[in-house]
Symmetry: C2
Subunit: 352 residues, 2 copies
């Protein structure tokens, strides 16, 4: 497994310090209005600081520095903080939609407030509805804080950020629909990957960094040549981890994507090739919420035996190659190029 | 009942045309990527254009014109469109939280997609979860479109818009919590009103208008002297309509707030004063989702007999007076002052 580039943790630390400062101020400001506001705001603060790879700020940083920006410019730190808050917004709303009760080793926000409702004993209404309602609002707050952080960003950087936010919601809709229908083709599955995750994790953060350095016009297309295939490779690796990942490393239950019935390219490849009992197993049990561990293993066997897993690994390797070839053509200030090479190997080969 | 100022419909028309143009473009753009994207985007378009009083754009408009802005400046139309899209975002997420299935005479978005799931027959997962997931995303899209529209607004206008967005989410959280707990004091109920609705409907749209005209620094405080009490009066009227409103005019079931157990000042006044059987009825049945029509009538009787309804009417009258006194002190270009006087009487005395 490729190790994380050493720059990652230094960038992450600066971004986290900025988020912590903003949210601490906000907890103080609103709790002065009403002490009841401490709980939702600290739940946001705790979740955003509980971990995460901080990939989006790192891609933004190296595009910015590669485009000639100063590594110590506070604007790129603030943009990284905005990207992480937006990511947290997406995770919070995502966990409601998927009914996931754990996130970053903590209780998911909707579950925590559902339990708070139950613990009170005499609160009215449904705990589930209360928990989900609070989580919708906490996610919405994260969304606004991302915007707040970008208040001083130039106009074309905001335009990139807005496009990114549309894409992630559009991709997430296609994902929900694909999960419900259960019939996504390889082509549809790849489109969902690009929109719900690839562009939002890599291509758009790169564009944001270039825009902050005043270089969006000349760097947008070349950065996409690197970022677009790498974004898809990132999501394909995610799909493999969602089906085969080691629970002790990923922090998620084994085979979670199989139980949720996510419309991945991995699954679509398998459906294209499976026959007989294997095809029947995919049809009948993929996406069943009551999947047993044995069934998870049988589904994994089908993903292996049909060659779907190998096909996805091959596709990732091809996409990384394409991405690195794209990088060749970009005029970047050192050491951004080397860092982006390391990042490509890291995101495509990671184990969590 | 005071009639709506005649300027309202002219402003509303311009704002609606702007929203329609933006969302039509977006439907065309995204449906070219994937035909499945037509459904969520047209559901947003249809909801935002299905009606609503467009009060927020109107307050924004008259503060802008009163501060010296040109009534034909496209910036104020765009800001009005952004306020309406943000309002639509809030309504969509609100209907999920409250489990309301109707909005503006249409099926609520989460309910419509729940039904689409059921109609498909063979879609996987829970219809409720699918419908709510889609509605969360459609609300999030409305939130981004509001931002997109404000791309050319000056920095201090964006700061006002961001504060407005924080306040409405903060107020909504206090409302959810107050509904669950069922023990809000008059003071807490009034605070919830101000944040979840008053500031967001009147004070902040006024500030946004002043900021667009470059006059936020000198007009913010005087506009608050008018807008803050009027915002509370607006919400108190809403509370009376939620408890006593005529279903054929409000378009909502009779006594909806009583069934939902909304922590209103009206209810808090009644709790302060009720004794014996009336107190017991409030304690036991306010907020019960299975409230019968007879029980709604009994609760209405308690709100009357305790003097809570009259107290709220008196408070509204006092707040309107305070608001109009505040307006006296503001240096505004004609005819903004007269329009704001008419609007004050309209929002405080309306029947829907």
């Amino acid at each position: 497994m490729p190790v994380a580039p050493s720059s990652l943790s230094a960038i992450a630390k600066r971004v986290e310090a900025r988020i912590e400062a903003v949210l601490d101020d906000e907890v103080a400001r609103w709790s002065a209005l009403d002490a009841d506001l401490v709980a939702p705001l600290t739940s946001l603060r705790d979740l955003v600081l509980a971990g995460g790879k901080r990939l989006r700020p790192v891609f933004c940083h190296w595009a910015f520095v590669g485009a000639g920006g100063s590594p110590s410019d506070p604007l790129v730190v603030v943009a990284g903080a905005a990207l992480e808050l937006l990511h947290t917004f997406a995770l919070i709303h995502d966990d409601i939609m998927d009914g996931s009760s754990r996130r970053r080793g903590q209780t998911a926000i909707h579950t925590a407030f559902d339990r708070r409702h139950a613990a009170a004993g005499d609160w009215r209404g449904e705990g589930r509805r209360f928990g989900e309602g609070v989580a919708i609002l906490v996610g919405d707050l994260a969304f606004v804080y991302a915007d707040l952080l970008l208040a001083d960003a130039p106009k074309d950087a905001m335009a990139v950020f807005t496009e990114l936010r549309l894409e992630v919601n559009i991709g997430q809709y296609l994902d929900l629909l694909g999960t419900a229908r259960g019939d996504a083709s390889v082509e549809q599955a790849r489109r969902i990957s690009r929109y719900k995750s690839g562009k939002y994790t890599i291509e758009r953060p790169l564009h944001l960094g270039a825009a902050l350095a005043g270089r969006l016009a000349d760097l947008a297309v070349p950065l996409s040549a690197y970022g677009d295939p790498l974004g898809e490779a990132f999501q394909l690796r995610d799909d493999l981890l969602g089906a085969f990942g080691d629970a002790s490393v990923t922090g998620k239950p084994v085979g979670e994507d199989l139980r949720e019935g996510k419309p991945t390219a991995l699954y679509a490849f398998a459906v294209e090739r499976a026959a007989g009992a294997s095809a029947e197993l995919l049809r009948a049990r993929f996406g069943a919420s009551d999947l047993t561990e044995t069934e998870v293993q049988h589904l994994q066997d089908v993903l292996e035996s049909t060659g779907a897993r190998a096909e996805v690994e091959d596709t990732i390797a091809r996409l990384v190659e394409e991405s690195l070839a794209g990088l060749e053509g970009i005029d970047l200030v050192s050491p951004a190029r080397d860092e982006l090479v390391d990042l490509a190997h890291f995101v495509a080969g990671r184990d969590h």
